[in-house]
Amino acid sequence: MAAEVAAQPVNGTATGSRARWKHMDTLLSRPGAYTDEDDFAPGSVPIGNIEQSRILVIGAGGLGCEILKNLALSGFKHIDVIDMDTIDFLFREKDVGKAKASVAAEFVMKRCPGCVITPYAGKIQDKDEDYYMQFNLVICGLDSIEARRWINATLVGMVDMENPDSLKPLIDGGTEGFKGQSRVIFPTMTSCIECQLDMHAPRAAVPLCTLATIPRQPQHCIEWAHIIKWEEERKDLVLDTDDPEHITWLYQKALGRAKEFKIEGVTYSMTQGVVKNIIPAIASTNAIVAASCCNEAFKIVTSAASFLGTPGENNYMLYTGDASIYTYTFEHQKKDDCPVCGNLPKDLFVNPESTLGELVEGLAERPEAQLKKPNLRTEEKTLYYSSPASLEESTRPNLKRKISEMLADGEEFAVSDPAFEINFRFIARYA
């Protein structure tokens, strides 16, 4: 089979030689029982896709690093990685204080010559749509739900019917101890992170009064120092969970509290863990979930086999390793009332010279939206709110203002009304 591949040279390889991927190329050079004839042309196309695709990995922690390594070893050559954190422990001594994204990129590049990994040490929110548009696929290996929700909403918002490249598959991996999941989202087409928010239980919290009066566990003493004592004694200082002085302060307070209640076990690293909400990671769970994410990425990019997330099919793989082993793959349904993908913004033609009041009246007459007490806003501005009374009063003057002063051409605005379960979203188009 190798001869067959050699007969179809792939242009633009970074290393020139594909000897290292001989077996993978064999796999990609012939159709199999599960390949889709319409989407899979064996040989140079899928191999070229692997070599040329640009993949973005969000997160360079335990899971993110595992994903980077797997991608590089699968033959991907252009990878970017974003992480805002610096290394504080777990890594090698010489790397402490450096950005996780840079250290991870450097390490994997050394192991996989020919693969270029570009790190960015910062927040995903620093980047705009032009940045995300460069990638063919995004993989998240994060522990933050907030970051997931942000990238999800961004990718949903980027989908543009005039540009097939604007549809970026999102692969999301997550682990918590022995449990984990991998899921694939085709933004606007299949159930998104926001639709699936109910799959994440909010962080278990201890009642404030327990912390204040009857702590029973070392964690309660730490939470007390974190939530109550800091506010009391260092109100004007913003707590920075990466500042060792801040953690030390909390640790000392927690230790004093623990002594008072004869509770043992408060340590510096426990303090750090509780305050940063670090859930103990298990390397093997990360490896399992990362492997699943990377397999899906490989299949999506090459079309070599059917993948998770095809509309109408399974999109979510759940893995549980604490009660023996259990995996379950299912289709999480898209929600009609999802605030991100449920009802995509519709174009609404507006006369920039007319008033906001006329727009609100016009909306009330639309058959699909017979509004009774509407609230309207853009990301920046509260346009008009019927409720609560104080906002009605402060936004009422806006009704007399011209559309051109309130809404830019092409700007999105959202309408909510107590009579409707869902929110309506529109894009104002000047007519």
Binding site: I145, A153, G157, S166, T378, L391, S394, E411
Partner: protein, 183 residues
């Protein structure tokens, strides 16, 4: 991916056609949810909201003047700070006055289950407002944040009542002075 895109085109045909994606920023999921919650907010006569910046609906103050119960006629205000992670995270609510209340500490922290351990994304701002109102009608000695006030409430209800009245006038209870909340 070719196949996925043709599925997308098919899907689009079945829905209303849309032009290019929106310019500028999109209304965030948290804003959308808060906007919806505000549209459904049913405030009684005893409550009103104040938005220091009307464009920012994630930060506001709620004023409460109970018309019955032990805290009758006091003016209390609560700051609401809602993060972009709402409704996954509950709003952060604090009492702005220093008051004598078994479930509110001297810093304004509030022990209300739905603001912490029992928060669920299906709960809305109305539920929080009702919860706050309830705390002032039925202070609860079994979830104390202010232990002394809770002990008074449990041990001697009349003394607790007297302490509430004098603290609301700006008086001291056991050497701790409180904010005047009545006119």
């Amino acid at each position: 991916m070719l196949k996925i895109w043709s599925m997308k085109q098919q899907q689009q045909k079945n829905e209303a056609a849309a032009g290019p994606a929106a310019k500028k920023k999109k209304v965030t999921a948290a804003q959308l949810r808060v906007q919806k919650d505000l549209s459904e907010l049913a405030l009684p006569q005893t409550m009103k909201t104040v938005f220091p910046n009307p464009d920012d609906i994630l930060n506001f103050t709620l004023h409460l003047t109970p018309d019955e119960g032990l805290y009758k006629s006091g003016s209390f205000s609560f700051t609401f700070a809602i993060s972009q992670n709402f409704p996954h995270e509950p709003p952060k609510v604090k009492c702005q006055q220093k008051i004598y209340h078994p479930n509110i500490d001297l810093e304004g922290n509030i022990c209300l289950n739905i603001l912490r351990e029992d928060w669920k994304p299906v709960l809305n701002l109305n539920a929080v407002v009702v919860g706050l109102q309830f705390l002032f009608l039925e202070p609860n000695a079994s979830d104390p944040l202010n232990k002394e006030a809770a002990a008074d409430l449990q041990g001697d209800r009349d003394r607790f009542k007297r302490n509430v009245r004098s603290s609301m006038q700006g008086g001291s209870v056991k050497g701790e002075s409180f904010d005047k909340v009545v006119k």
